[in-house]
């Protein structure tokens, strides 16, 4: 195919088409990432405002109960949806998929551009709720009705409407992006790139995207139904209610229906965030320990198994919701079964390190830290997934500690590791190492300091989502002290993120020049003819793949890695070579 002609047709020429209305997956990835990081910073500020109140109740009078619950809600929603989901799929997915499978771009570039701008719109709608009468909603990020749409919850006037509208818009964006990622992985892989030769990062993002396409519709319909309940007075989720002394005109709806729909989305959502993190961290560990990932095929099957199981565990969020209690047996069992493929992944990361040649680069530090935080977060999941252990712990600080460790801290550590790892490819320059080390140490140690003690406050029985804990006899003074200490740790960790932001900005111009493959990695994105890769990624010829992405320290090879597109006689084939190149495994 005459690529040069193509490039002349599609290569953007003006600043505007190149950087704003861009259809290039790499630019869209950066756009997604920057917006997600910005909105993530808002989320961090909100968390610190919450910690001000929890650590030093009564000292900051501008944080009243209304505002506190608004901070709780916006922090949760921003971090889960607008930061993590957008960053992993829209950011990493966009950048890595075409480069890692050897494609020139996503298969639907125009749709890809729309996806970003629609996401941007959803962020604007979300943030606008800070400026409407009544402020943003304070319903908690799960937005449980009837509370979310009744007086007595802050943001009842406009906040909840804007939140729901923003989510609907976000889902449109995620669907446009998601169809693109899935189609690109299935249709646009270069010659020789079988499915079983794809890097695990692509596998994780691929499976997460499929989950997103299946799970987001449940959130979409429940959001729409609640919007109708709020604006038109339908009763999908609203039974007969006496709210603050007034009989309301609702009748016959079911609040539990919302919870089922929400968690049918919400639990896969955990894996929409976790699977890309699993994939990316597998690649980081392999590259930086110069060792092929251990048990590649098992890792792929574990990703698939987790993906499938993740849609039949949702009601473990509802053990004490009032649903039929006999569901508890089923959902506790499925939930603990999902621990098996997850544990396999942990073992395989550890065994990959075993007898490796471990380089303590910043991405590797984040990857090792991820293994540690993910282990503690995963293990506490065994408490909460086991129904009779969950009953006393549900809705306490134990839950807060668990999900922050497993789906807050762990994926964020991978985000950082991934950014330190691929920044040289995106910009052509390395991030500053010293700043990176400081950022890493404060973040890693700090998050343990914040969340580890919370498990114990939870076992004590401190309920979460409390504005204040005054005059509860079972809560000793020491717990209040601990809360103050946790707050201080949270402020320090938040401050360290500014170093990261500064590093990102500073290194664009002042970072050390990276060269095309600073980590000496084998996967395709490091083999582009230019760094940063130009429009079309590969120059006149797309690469041809002859092996898997993990040919590290192959005995007899002259170097300790063999690129995926190195000539076939360079060796380093995957454990079970495929008979026909290009076949779909």
């Amino acid at each position: 195919m005459a690529y040069t002609d193509d490039a002349a047709h599609h290569g953007p020429t003006s600043f505007f088409t190149r950087y704003i209305w861009s259809q290039d997956h790499k630019v869209i990835a950066v756009q997604y990432t920057l917006v997600a990081i910005f909105v993530g910073l808002v989320g961090v500020v909100l968390s610190n405002l919450m910690r001000l109140q929890l650590g030093f109740p009564g000292h900051f009078t501008f944080i009243d109960a209304n505002r506190y619950y608004q901070f709780v809600t916006m922090h949760g929603m921003i971090m889960v949806i607008y930061l993590l989901t957008a960053l992993f799929l829209g950011g990493f997915g966009n950048y890595l998929i075409p480069l890692m499978v050897g494609a020139r771009d996503m298969v639907f570039p125009y749709l890809n551009m729309l996806s970003f701008w629609v996401y941007f719109l959803s962020v604007l709608v979300l943030l606008s709720s800070f400026f409407v009468p009544g402020g943003p909603t304070g319903a908690g990020w799960t937005l449980y009705p009837p509370q979310a749409i009744l007086r007595g919850t802050p943001g009842y006037e406009w906040g909840i409407i804007l939140m729901l509208v923003s989510l609907l818009i976000f889902i449109v964006a995620a669907t446009m992006g998601g169809l693109n990622y899935v189609t690109t992985v299935l249709q646009a892989r270069t010659e020789g790139m079988t499915l079983m030769r794809m890097p695990l990062a692509v596998w994780g993002i691929f499976m997460a995207t499929i989950l997103a396409l299946l799970a987001f519709p449940a959130l979409f319909v429940s959001g729409l139904m609640m919007l109708l309940d709020r604006t038109l007075g339908t009763s999908f989720f609203m039974p007969a209610i006496v709210s603050l002394g007034q009989q309301l005109n609702y009748k016959g709806g079911s609040p539990l229906l919302f919870q089922h729909l929400f968690w049918f989305f919400g639990h896969p959502e955990v894996y929409i965030v976790a699977l890309p993190a699993f994939g990316i961290v597998s690649d980081l560990i392999s590259v930086h320990s110069r060792k092929s990932i251990f048990g590649y095929r098992t890792m792929v099957w574990a990703i698939l198994a987790i993906g499938v199981l993740s849609v039949v565990v949702w009601a473990h969020h509802m053990f004490v919701s009032g649903m039929n209690p006999y569901f508890g047996f089923f959902f506790a069992t499925t939930t603990l079964i999902i621990a098996i493929p997850t544990a396999i992944k942990v073992y395989n990361w550890v065994i990959t390190l075993w007898r490796g040649d471990i380089h303590f680069s910043v991405p590797m530090l984040f990857a090792i830290a991820f293994v540690s935080t993910f282990v503690i977060g995963g293990l506490t999941g065994l408490f909460l997934g086991n129904v009779s252990v969950d009953i006393p712990l549900s809705n306490t600080y134990f839950v807060v500690a668990h999900f922050h460790m497993v789906m807050g801290v762990s994926p964020i550590l991978v985000v950082f590791g991934g950014i330190y790892h691929w920044y040289p490819k995106v910009t052509g320059r390395m991030l500053n190492d010293t700043l990176g080390h400081i950022h890493f140490w404060v973040t890693f140690v700090g998050t343990y300091a914040i969340f580890f003690p919370m498990h114990y406050l939870g076992i004590l029985g401190m309920p979460r989502r409390y504005y204040a804990y005054d005059n509860y006899a079972f809560i000793p003074e020491s717990a209040h002290l601990m809360n103050a200490y946790i707050s201080v740790a949270a402020f320090i960790v938040a401050a360290a993120q500014l170093l990261f932001i500064f590093n990102l900005a500073w290194s664009v111009r002042h970072g050390r020049l990276a060269g095309s493959n600073p980590w000496r990695a084998a996967s395709l994105e490091w083999q582009t003819p230019q760094t940063p890769p130009v429009h079309g990624n590969w120059g006149p010829e797309q690469p041809v793949v002859h092996r898997w992405a993990y040919a590290y320290s192959v005995p007899g090879a002259s170097e300790d890695f063999i690129a995926q597109n190195a000539p076939p006689d360079a060796g380093g084939a995957e454990p079970e070579p495929h008979a026909s190149r290009g076949a779909v495994a």
Binding site: N66, Q147, I241, S289, I337, V350, L353, I391, Y456, L457
Partner: protein, 393 residues
């Protein structure tokens, strides 16, 4: 290198933290010792795993750190090792799950002889109901809720007439008798949570949920709401008093039946002041008390001096209120009327703009003002409240 040391320190610090931490489950006061036991089993199994994995990673990153000229070992797969790991993990998961499910099987099957307690939640207070002599609760629905019938018991259901109604936030339970708790909510989700009992369940408007437990230790326990229920969530307080059967029966006998509470409101003032309140205790005050309950005022405004989401009404009348802007005014009828009808106009210092504007008639406002006045004037109203089973301290 440093990361290996850090991982070791994390493990050591975690284990130390566990043993010196002053925070652990509250002393158990129910039959659910098995829940504590499954927690312990889970903690031990997962704790060992946590320590081993972290120390193993620490060892590996120290042992296999990059050295000049070193090269990593090449071993992409080892099916045998992987099968062993899958098998071992499966066993571990079964060891965790099985005891948990056995305990849960008991949790979902309340004993046949359990006594029934109904708990009704609303923003941000509790109400309770026991079946009366007939042994059966009357039907209920949010549609029946009025000021006189705060729990929404069906007034036409003969089985409900003898139900014992407790409109306040305090309930008593007899020691060592299984209790099947039925839960309802009038407005939003709540969760009846008493940490020392372990057992709990959400309260969902439009349906009745349930769980059971047996109180095994006498004492007074705090009831908390553990499902976000709006801005007053953190302050939805109640009390359970567990006492011996005789004391419980005596307490229960003092509580009004549903039929009695329905009689009371239209009744002349004399019946309102049964327990020695000043003769002629005002109907207006009694009306105000009922309104304060039914409109949810008491969720935020206590009458015992506890500062909640809003200022306490105890001693409020006649005191001097300070506003957020620093100005102040004496709390009198006019002051209260303004605050009730337009709560956001002037904010009292130290409190947020939380109070909703209520559609109240002129008379209702006067009744509330009278009730607040009565609370300010030496606590006479508290006694009126006590007589009708209100949330008097």
């Amino acid at each position: 290198m440093a990361i290996a040391i850090a991982l070791v320190i994390i493990v050591v610090a975690s284990v130390l933290f566990h043993f010196v931490s002053p925070w652990w489950a509250t002393p158990l006061a129910s039959n659910w010792k098995q829940m504590d036991d499954t927690l312990t089993i889970t903690l031990v199994i997962t704790g060992v795993f946590f320590v081993i994995i972290n120390l193993f990673v620490a060892y590996i990153v120290w042992r296999y750190r990059h050295r000049e000229g070193a090269r990593a070992h090449y071993q992409p797969e080892n099916s045998k090792l992987e099968l062993w790991l899958i098998g071992g993990t499966t066993l571990g998961v079964i060891a965790l799950l099985a005891p948990g499910l056995f305990v849960y099987a008991e949790y979902v099957r309340p004993p046949g002889d359990a006594m029934v307690l109904e708990v009704v939640g609303q923003q941000w207070q509790w109400g309770f109901r026991f079946p009366g002599q007939g042994g059966q609760l009357g039907t209920s629905d949010a549609r029946f809720v009025t000021a006189a019938n705060p729990l929404g018991v069906n007034p036409d259901d003969p089985r409900g007439q003898d139900d014992i109604i407790i409109a306040g936030n305090e309930v008593h339970l007899p020691l060592n008798r299984p209790v099947k708790v039925l839960l309802r909510s009038k407005d939003v989700l709540h969760d009846f949570y008493v940490p020392p009992f372990r057992a709990r369940m959400n309260m969902v408007p439009g349906m009745v949920t349930s769980f059971w437990f047996t109180p095994t230790k006498a004492g007074t326990y705090e009831i908390l709401c553990a499902q976000l229920c709006g801005v007053g969530h953190y302050n939805m307080r109640g009390k359970v008093v567990v006492e011996d059967a005789a004391a419980f029966d005596a307490w229960l006998r003092r509580q009004p039946t549903f039929a009695l509470t329905m009689l009371k409101t239209p009744a002349p003032p004399a019946t309102a002041g049964v327990s020695g309140a000043p003769a002629g205790a005002d109907t207006l005050v009694e009306q105000g008390r009922a309104l304060a309950q039914s409109k949810g005022c008491v969720g935020c405004h206590s009458i015992d001096g506890t500062v909640g989401v809003g200022p306490s009404w105890k001693g409020l009348y006649g005191s001097t209120g300070t506003f957020a802007d620093g100005s102040s005014a004496k709390v009198d009828d006019a002051y209260l009327k303004t605050e009730i009808t337009d709560p956001q106009a002037r904010l009292v210092k130290g409190f947020g703009p939380l109070m909703p504007k209520m559609p109240l008639s002129e008379e209702e406002v006067s009744a509330l003002v009278a009730y607040i006045r009565a609370n300010g004037a030496g606590g006479a109203a508290t006694q009126v409240g006590a007589a009708s089973g209100a949330a008097a301290k």
